[in-house]
Each structure stands twice: as C-alpha cells, then as structure tokens.
C-alpha cells in the first residue's frame, strides 16, 4: 500500500544578481524526482553533498514549496496546500534531523518538548499528555525521570531518541529521516538504527531515509534511490543495488566506500576524478558525463531518462 507518492518533483532556487537583483539563474536542486514508498517500507535516498537529497525531504514535508511536480500523501494531493490546509496532514508526515539539539528549546524540560506536538494538534493535554509522553520516553529507551531534564543534559544519542519520541508522538504514517545517525559515534549509531527498525515493525511506519553512508543505507533500507545533481540515477531494491549496480555513478560510490576489511585492496579506488559540478550550472545531457569513465558522445547532449531495465530496477543511463 503506497503511503507517499512523489511524481516529477522539481525545486529550483532562484539566483538573484546585478544592480536590480533580478533573477539571473536558478539552482536546480531537485530536477524531476519520482518515487513511491509503501507502508512499513524504508526508501533510502543516497548521494553526496549538494545532490538535492535533503531538498527532496524538505519539499515533501512542505517546509519549502515545490516548483513543480506532485506530492501525494495517502490519497491526498498535498502539493498545493496552503499552510492552514496542510496543518491536519502534518501529523501524518513527521521528520527527524541530523542534529536534534538545534531544534530543541534549551529552556524547556525534555518532557515538555516531546509533548508539544500533542498539545499543538489537540491530541492530549495535562495529565493524559504526561502519561503519553512517559510512555514515549520508555518506548525510545529513555527513563521516565529524564522528562524533567533539559536538552543539554542529554548525550547525542539520547537527544536523537528525544527527536524520535517527538516525531512519534502524533502517530505519523511517514517519517522523513535526514542523516539521523551521521553525527553519532558508531556504538550509539547502532542503538538508534536498531530503534528505528523496531519502531517501523511495530507501527508500520514508512521511512524516507536520507544519508550519504552506503553501509547504513544497506542496513536500514528496503529499496535505495541514488541521486546525482538533482536527479535519481538508479533506483532498485538494496540487494540488487549492491550486487549489480548499473549506473556508473553507483559503481563509483560503491568502489569509493571503505570497508572494515584490511584484505580488501585499497589501491586506486577512486574511479571517478574531479568534483561534483555546480547544480546552478549542471552539465548538459547526462549530468554525470563530465566524471563518467564510460561516457560517449550521446551522453553529452541527450538527457538519459530513468527507465525500468529489469522488474523494479530503474536506471538513467544511455549505456544500459
């Protein structure tokens, strides 16, 4: 059952310049991205800095307005909803961030922070709210008496648990998790990943899991979409992606990743050279052709569409 469908999503940020601050161009952060997520499923969105993965997340959450495309939550098209009309749907799609500390009021006790959405959405007040918050604390592995503590008294991993409790409090169907474990040490990262997996099984949550870390992706995702310069270049189930990557960029990412195995030879793993071009001025044709070791003449002029080359395996490359 699809709970979130995104179709040809586009987000361009205008660039202003000159004396009159006219629009002189646009950063094409997201340039036609489509995917669906089912109940109880995790779709991983992986890519390097500036590929647009976080912008996809923010646009779906309607924290920023899409330039074009459609976002369908359940059976509701939320693309054009104004803030007031969007309000009741916000319960259904929640988020957890990389750094939950920056979103927590340092003067409020943790219990109040986690309970805020319950009041905002008129779900519970007073004693009932406190009871619900206490249950949430226990569910995410925090002690009840931690409700009286302040955000700075928690460790990084505990703050991420608070962020998860807050997102869970309103009973969402979809959670957009943007690099939720990137700032955590590995021993704590494992705790948070396990918690997210358990919660998904318990509540049938759908996750859009945004990360740059391929190993984390492999662990938590069911399907993975690889993004490069605003576009999805490959989308398939995780086993296929790691066993038979089809897009040269996916291949480059997998080859560049390090593994805790000293016998895996590290020699010459960088199969792509150079830096990612600017999304304000992406290369014509296939965005990846400037770094692609296999690029042919066609790649420089023709835009490769995302095609289904095997059941469930989508790739945007002229050579596949």
């Amino acid at each position: 059952m699809t709970v979130l469908a995104v179709d040809k999503l586009v987000k361009h940020f205008p660039i202003h310049g000159g004396l009159l601050q006219r629009q002189v161009g646009a950063v094409r952060a997201v340039d036609g991205v489509s995917f669906t997520i089912a109940k109880g499923e995790t779709l991983g969105l992986v890519g390097e800095s500036g590929c647009g993965k976080s912008t996809v997340g923010k646009t779906i959450l309607k924290l920023i307005e899409p330039t074009a495309g459609r976002i369908v939550l359940g059976s509701e098209d939320i693309t054009a909803l104004k803030p007031g009309a969007m309000w009741p749907h916000r319960k259904r799609i929640q988020t957890i961030f990389q750094d939950p500390y920056s979103s927590m009021n340092p003067r409020l006790p943790a219990g109040t922070i986690v309970g805020e959405p319950l009041e905002n959405f008129d779900i519970a007040r007073g004693r009932e709210r406190d009871e619900r918050v206490a249950a949430l604390f226990e569910r995410v592995g925090l002690r009840r008496d931690a409700m009286r503590k302040y955000a700075h008294e928690f460790s990084g991993g505990q703050r991420q648990r608070l962020g998860i409790a807050k997102a869970l409090s309103v009973g969402p169907e979809v959670i957009v998790a943007d690099e939720p474990v990137s700032a955590l040490d590995v021993s704590v990262q494992a705790q948070v990943l396990n918690l997210l997996i358990d919660l998904q099984a318990e509540y049938g949550l759908a996750y859009l899991f945004i990360s740059h870390d391929l190993a984390v992706m492999r662990h938590i995702s069911h399907r993975i979409a690889v993004m490069y310069l605003g576009r999805i270049v490959e989308l398939t189930d995780k086993r296929t992606l790691f066993a038979q990557p089809l897009h040269p960029y996916t291949e480059a990412l997998l080859s560049a990743a390090t593994a805790p195995d000293p016998r895996r030879q590290r020699r010459k793993k960088a199969i792509v050279q150079g830096d990612v071009p600017s999304p304000a001025n992406p290369p014509p044709g296939c965005h990846f052709h400037t770094r692609c070791p296999y690029a042919v003449a066609d790649c420089k002029v023709k835009d490769p569409p995302l095609r289904e080359v095997a059941p469930g395996h989508h790739v945007a490359c002229h050579l596949r």
Binding site: V186, A190, N194, A257, T258, P260, K269, A270
Partner: protein, 326 residues
C-alpha cells in the same frame, strides 16, 4: 622489538589534562605507542577518546591557558619534545613533523593565496629565495594532482572545493619533506568519492616520500584500508594495539569487538547490529578499574576494582583487559 629500534616517534605514558569548570579532564590518561619509519599507524576511537589530543600533544599544540601535558615522554628521532623550547618546536612543526586537519578551511588563511601560504612554509623552514619557494609550491600542487597548478597558486582558499583545499593542506604539510605526517580525520568532512581520491593520494605520496603517517580517525573502514598497525583508544587510554590484519581478524578487547559488531556492513546483510550499551565515562573523575567495565558484557568484579594489565599475545598484539590471556 625491532619496531622500537626503528621508531621515529615514541610516546611513553602520556598524560594530557584540561582544566574545566567541571574539574580536571584527563583527556589522555597514560598512552604509549611507537611509530616506525615509513609506517602508517592508525589511531581509532570514538568522540572524546583522546585521539586528537594525543596528536596535539605530540606537536605541543595544547592551549596553555586550559591544558597541559601533565607527564610522560614524547621522543622524536631520540629528542625529547615535552621539554623542548617553543622556538625549537616552531622549527620542527611544518618541517620535520607536519599535521593536516579535518576542516582545511579553518587552517588555511582566507586572505592569502594558496601559493603564498605554501611558499611561506618553505621559506620559513628551508630559508630559500622567494622564487625558489614559489617553484616548490607549484611543484607541490602538481604532486597532489591539482590540475593547472600554476594558475591555482594565485587562487584563494574560498575559490577551491573541499577536496582541493585538503589537497592544498597536504601539499603544504609535505612541502618540507617531513619525517612524520599527523593526519587528524583528513577525509571525514569529504564526500565518499572525494575521500577515495584523497586516501589514494596520501598512500601514493607516502610511497614516494617515505613519510611515516599517524592517521587519526573514527572510521574503521579508513583504518582497515590504509594503516599497517592500529591503536584503539577508549576514554583516554590505549585499549588495544595490533597489526591491522590481526586486529580485524581477531579483535581481543571487548570494546574493539563491540565496535566491529556495531558497524553496518557494505558486503553483508546483518540481521541486527550489536549495540554497545551505555555511554563513555566522564573523564573528570579518576576511573577505578577498567574504563570500559560499565559497558562490557564480560566484566567481573575485578574489572571494576583493579586497573587491567596490558596483555601481550605475541606478534605485536596487545590488549588492556583482565579477560585476555596471553
């Protein structure tokens, strides 16, 4: 051991402390290791384990207002660094021992061109002419594979990408042919395809120049693929040391084992990640017994009461643990 005779850098029982409002933090609490000529030594551990403070101690870069090397010895080519004058340290840094950091933008001067900054280091230490220093700078940018080096010399750090800035830092660090390069999380801020380029580059240059490297990282994958020997740190202590294959084949310390079971793998689908319960201990209080005891699955009463011994199992593999037998 032969490694000792060949050691270019020897750290013995290093204690580095900081004064904070919460009391004295024992950031490094009795760490010893050696670095052999031409070797790459990985120092791995999580936030706050003291790996960066160890590096800063070696270069005597601990801010004197808040911290100090309380005791211990650091010998570089037989010379004791802890008692060396500040003037002599200045001659050493960037010349015979160099360092690169995680975020190059914070160590590059934004108002000077990269050519000027590399040349400055060369003139200071080698006393060559401005012209020769600029030529050396150009040569170094070529060496770190920055295309069109001549033109890049006159660019400012903000005009370069993150990966290129790290290349400039490496160029600067290697410009006076140091015997030791200390790299503190050199690729952590970089994207994975750029990280691969920088690691390839560092290993290539090491082969060319013979510089010994201390690579400090939280990333077991980076250590596995670059280091020959590894020191694992926890709560300011060295808990395990081994040749890289031995460490990954047969981790001895429960903390090392825990870390390895906690990382998601690229090559297999683990059903569930092992968690290390609890948190790192506060370093403001002296730790009684083993620092890892509170989180250790096999800890006994002795572990909580008595400091564990460093057990040598042979082949250069040691672990700070009561439960490991030699």
């Amino acid at each position: 051991m032969s490694a000792e005779a060949n050691a270019i850098l020897e750290v013995r029982d290093l204690h580095t402390q900081f004064n904070t409002l919460d009391g004295v933090v024992r950031a490094v609490d009795g760490v010893s290791f050696e670095l052999a000529r031409g070797e790459t030594l990985g120092i791995v551990g999580e936030s706050g384990c003291g790996k960066s403070v160890t590096a800063l101690s070696i270069l005597r870069l601990i801010p004197p207002e808040t911290g100090r090397i309380a005791s211990g010895s650091i010998r570089f080519e037989g010379e004791e660094l802890t008692s060396l004058s500040e003037e002599a340290m200045k001659r050493l840094r960037g010349h015979r021992i160099s360092m690169i950091f995680q975020e190059p933008m914070t160590s590059l001067n934004p108002v000077l061109t990269v050519g000027t900054q590399i040349a400055e280091n060369v003139t200071r230490h080698l006393g060559v002419s401005k012209r020769a220093a600029r030529e050396r700078a150009c040569e170094m940018l070529d060496l770190v594979r920055i295309a069109d080096a001549k033109r890049r010399l006159d660019e400012y750090p903000h005009q370069l990408s993150g990966g290129m800035r790290q290349r400039v830092m490496i160029a600067m660090a290697l410009s006076c042919d140091p015997q030791v390069l200390i790299a503190d999380e050199p690729t952590t801020a970089l994207d994975v395809t750029i990280q691969a380029q920088i690691l390839d580059l560092m290993l290539d240059l090491k082969e060319k120049t013979g510089t010994a490297i201390v690579l400090i990282t939280h990333d077991l994958g980076v250590v596995a693929e670059t280091a020959q020997r590894v020191v694992v740190m926890y709560a300011g202590r060295k808990v395990e040391e081994a040749p890289v294959e031995a460490l990954f084949d047969n981790p001895l310390h429960p903390y090392t084992r825990g870390l390895m079971a906690a990382i998601p793998r690229l090559d297999t689908d683990a059903a569930r990640l092992q968690e290390i319960p609890g948190m790192v201990p506060l370093l403001t209080k002296p730790i009684v017994g083993c620092a890892f005891a509170a989180r250790c699955p096999i800890a006994t009463d002795r572990c909580r009461a008595e400091a564990p011994p460093m057990v040598d199992v042979g082949g250069g593999h040691t672990a700070l643990c009561w439960e490991v037998t030699s």
